[in-house]
Every structure is written in C-alpha cells, then in structure tokens.
C-alpha cells in the first residue's frame, strides 16, 4: 500500500463515520475506536515530525549522514570544518558517530540545514572526483599498444632504450601489477606479454608478428 491509498481509505472511513456517527454505540466498537484514536495520535505525531524535518532540510541532512557515501568518505575533520563553515562554531566530539549527532544539533540550532546539506554534497562530490590521468596516461597507453605491435627484435631495441623507471610507469598505467621486488627482466616479460595481448584485442592494434602470419597463411 502507498500513502495515497491510505489517504483515500482514511477519507472514505471518515466520511462513513461522519454519516453514521449519531447511531454508533456499544462496548466493542467503543474499545476499537479508542485504540484507533490512540494510533492516530501516534501517527500524527510521527507525520508532523517527518514533515517538519523535511521542510527544514534536516531529513535530507540525516539521510546524507547515514548514507553509504558518508560511511566511506566522511571524516571528523570534515565535519568540524563543515560546522565552522556553515555555523561558525566548533565541535567537541572526537568519535565519528558522536560527531555526526553533534553536527546535526549545531546545524539545527543555527537553522543552517540547507547549507549543511550543500556542504556534505560538496564533500561527497569531491571525494569521488577522479583525475583523468591526462596526456601522460594517454601517451603511455599509446606506447603500450605500440610495444605490443613490435616484432621481438624491435621490442628488444625499444626496451633497451628505456630506463627501469620508464618501464615501471608504462606497466603501472596499463594495469600491470608489480612489487618493489619485480626486476627489470620480469617487468619486461610482463609488458611484452600484456602489450601483445592488448594489441591483439584492441581494434586496429594487431601485432606485426600476427599480421605477418595472417599474410603468410593467406598465401
């Protein structure tokens, strides 16, 4: 059931009750009506509190503080900064759960819910911002494909002209995992293996050795 259905049902009940109210009597009906009235009191209280917190922006604020993004990205330092920025106040709490509660209290006290919501949205947006890697990454990816297209002897010449640090950059950017213990020879093997694979799998990047084999095969 949704709230719109409930509203319709309550309206219909209210209308029916109004029509017959002067005829209603008896203990069972009275007891049931008493229970319903008390439930309605409770529901009205909940609804009032919900609507008030929604109107003030507090509901969204609480929702953001409980959100998965908050769990992953939000720190006490950021909350302290947020309180300073939005309310001009200082926070005392030193653990995250308490800090979130204090954050809400201070923001509520200052009536700055909307600003606090914007602050948190900004924190989450900043946290997921990923640098593109820029031209360096593009160049190193292009170089990787180039290395994969070379014949063995050409590859050996290319690799010999590069420093170990350069090879490590090519490997790292192109998804090859290695450790501090990985030596030049091992890294070269990994680059050769995966660069050839990439050249084969990526459109227009067929390695020369395979291209040549195809020509030979077709003859």
């Amino acid at each position: 059931m949704n709230y719109s259905d409930l509203a319709t049902r309550l309206s219909q009940l209210g209308e029916r009750l109004g029509r017959h109210s002067e005829k209603l009597e008896g203990e069972n009906l009275g007891r049931s009506a008493g229970k319903l009235a008390s439930q309605i009191d409770h529901f009205e209280e909940q609804l009032e509190s919900y609507l008030a917190s929604r109107k003030s922006g507090e509901l969204l604020l609480e929702s953001l503080l409980r959100s998965p993004a908050s769990k992953r990205h939000l720190t006490i330092a950021q909350l302290k900064h947020g309180v300073r920025e939005t309310c001009g106040k200082r926070m005392k709490s030193e653990d995250l759960a308490a800090a979130k509660r204090e954050f809400i209290e201070l923001v509520r006290g200052a009536g700055k819910q909307d600003q606090a919501v914007e602050f948190l949205k900004g924190v989450f947006a900043e946290a997921v911002h990923v640098e593109s890697g820029g031209k360096d990454k593009t160049l190193l990816q292009r170089e990787f494909i180039h290395l994969g297209q070379l014949l063995d002897e050409e590859f050996a010449v290319e690799i010999a002209s590069r420093t170990f640090a350069e090879l490590r950059r090519v490997a790292a950017v192109n998804g090859i995992r290695f450790t501090d213990k990985t030596n030049r020879e091992r890294l070269t093997t990994l680059i050769r293996r995966y660069a050839q694979r990439a050249a084969l799998n990526v459109p227009g990047g067929v390695p020369k050795a395979i291209g040549r084999a195809k020509v030979i095969g077709s003859n």
Binding site: M1, P68, A69, R197, A198, N201, P203
Partner: protein, 298 residues
C-alpha cells in the same frame, strides 16, 4: 523540467545492466532527491521483478495491459489502450507494507513483450523506432531522469529505446567477450545515428555517453588489464569516429557484492536493503559521478 532520457544497453547479457538501472535510479531518488522513472523494456522483466514483489507484479501486468508491452501492442493494433497513470508504479514496497522512495517510479515490463519482436516487422521502419517516443515522450518531461532498461539485444524494442533516449549508457563486465561485444555495439550505435538522423530534427542523435563497469574485483592483474584494454579500445574507436570524444568510463567500478545479489530476492534496491554494504557505497559514488556528468558539474 529538463529530463534526461538514458538508454541502458548492451547486447551481451549478464553485464549488470538491470543492477545498474535499479540501483542508480534508487540512489538518484534517495540521496539526490531526483524524480526518476525506470522503463522496463526487457521481456525478462528483471527491473520490474527487482522492484516489485512477484505476486504484485503478476497482478499488475496481467495480460500485459499495465506494462510496456501495451505500448507496442497498441502500435501494432492501431489502438490506444495504454494508460500511463494506470501502468506506472510509484515507490518501492518495503517490509512495512508501505512504499518508500516515492520519487522512484517504474513502468513495468511483461513477458508478452516476447511476442512483439515476432510481429513488429508489420510496421514500417520509422514508425517502429518512434513507438516509445510517441507514447511516452510527454510523460518523460515530468521526470529528472528516465532510465530505459533495454533487453540484451539490438532488436526493435531496443532500437525504440535508443531512438527516444538522449544518450546511451553501456554497462560492462571487464573481460574480452564484453570488449569484443562493445566494439560491435559502438559501431551499431554509430550506424543508428545516421539512420535515425532524419527523424530526429533538432534533437540529440544516439550516442554512447558513458560505460559503467560491474562485477569488478581488485585482486591480481585480471580486471585492471581488462579495464585498460577497454580504455585502449575506447581511444581507438574515438580515433575512428565511431565513439564520441565525450564518452567516458565512469568510476568507481562496481565491485562484486553478495548483498546486491541478495537484494533482488528482497525486491529492494541495495540502498534500502543494505545501505552499509560495499555495493551501496559503490552505487552511491557512481551515482554522484553520474549526476556530475549529466548535470555538468565537473
């Protein structure tokens, strides 16, 4: 309201298409207060069954009437029996018995959609593409985001989805089979761009705006290398003019998460079922990037 209509497509199955649609849709509604419509175009009805209890879904879409099937059936029969207000499901029913996520609406699918492909050739080409746009175009305007969950093929229903969308989103699993499929998909969409152009005056032509990686695992080289090959392919397809320069690979990648799989059985998006899980966290971050991309904040 300026709505963004996005077709989630991949003609390879099992790439996390429905999970992406359902969970981005729910996160947009919950954390960004966006009004979202999910349109299920897949006869398998996976988005519908994720967000609705099976008994409620069966009752709702009985004989296909209150489902996307009716839109296509009307076009075939030359009738107008489809009624958006009757067909749309507002919010997601939780275990309280009441709905949550009131801003998330669903236009469910029905298995009868299977019959559509057999008969749709009875219509002429431009009419087929325009079916969805003609029936729902005005309804789309009341939403911030319209997410079209297309079936895993490139047949007529999917083409109708692509035609009515501003952009396409490609859910992707990092492996070679997905990579080869993506290359074909990009070429097909580039062809559709040419084919649809005369029927879309003054409107955006089909293009791939973003790829979303699912089922990602951080262990070892396997997935890092596969994602790198995807990036290399995207660069090659851009150079060939098949893929737009604006097409991006959205991060974070969605990691494999058992709580997301479990949430299908609970008929809830993961942000309601397990908000503390890594799945919910990944979708929250991805949705933030999604908003940044489509609202050009960064």
């Amino acid at each position: 309201m300026s709505s963004k209509v996005l077709a989630f497509i991949n003609f390879k199955g099992g790439v996390g298409k429905t999970a992406t649609v359902v969970n981005i849709g729910a996160t947009l509604a919950k954390l960004h207060e966006k009004k979202v419509l999910i349109v299920d175009l897949d006869p398998q009805s996976n988005s519908s069954l994720w967000l609705m209890r099976p008994d409620r879904w069966r009752e709702h879409v009985a004989r296909g009437r209150r489902s996307t099937f009716q839109i296509f059936d009307d076009a075939l029969q030359g009738k107008t029996r489809f009624n958006f207000d009757e067909a749309v499901v507002k919010g997601v029913e939780t275990w309280t018995g009441f709905t949550d996520l009131p801003r998330l609406h669903l236009l469910p699918a029905a298995v009868e959609l299977l019959r559509v492909e057999d008969r749709i050739h009875e219509l002429r080409a431009p009419v087929i593409y325009q079916i969805l746009d003609s029936a729902l175009g005005t309804q789309f305007k009341q939403y911030d985001y319209v997410l079209l969950d297309c079936p895993p093929n490139l047949y007529s229903t999917t083409k109708a989805g692509i035609f009515s969308a501003d952009s396409c989103i490609v859910p992707y699993v990092p492996d070679y089979l997905s990579l080869s499929g993506f290359q074909v998909l990009a070429e097909q969409i580039a062809e559709m761009r040419e084919k649809f152009a005369p029927y879309l005056p003054g409107r955006r032509k089909p293009n791939i705006a973003a790829l979303i990686v699912s089922h990602y695992r951080q262990t070892g080289n396997v997935f890092r290398l596969a994602v790198n090959e995807l990036e290399l392919s995207m660069a090659a397809l851009r150079a060939e003019g098949v893929l737009s320069d604006q097409a991006v690979l959205l991060q974070p990648y969605i990691r494999h998460c058992v709580r997301v799989a479990e949430s299908t059985s609970e008929h809830l998006p993961v942000i309601l079922y397990a908000p503390g899980s890594i799945g919910a966290q990944d979708y929250a971050d991805l949705t933030q990037r999604f908003v940044d991309l489509f609202e050009r904040k960064k």
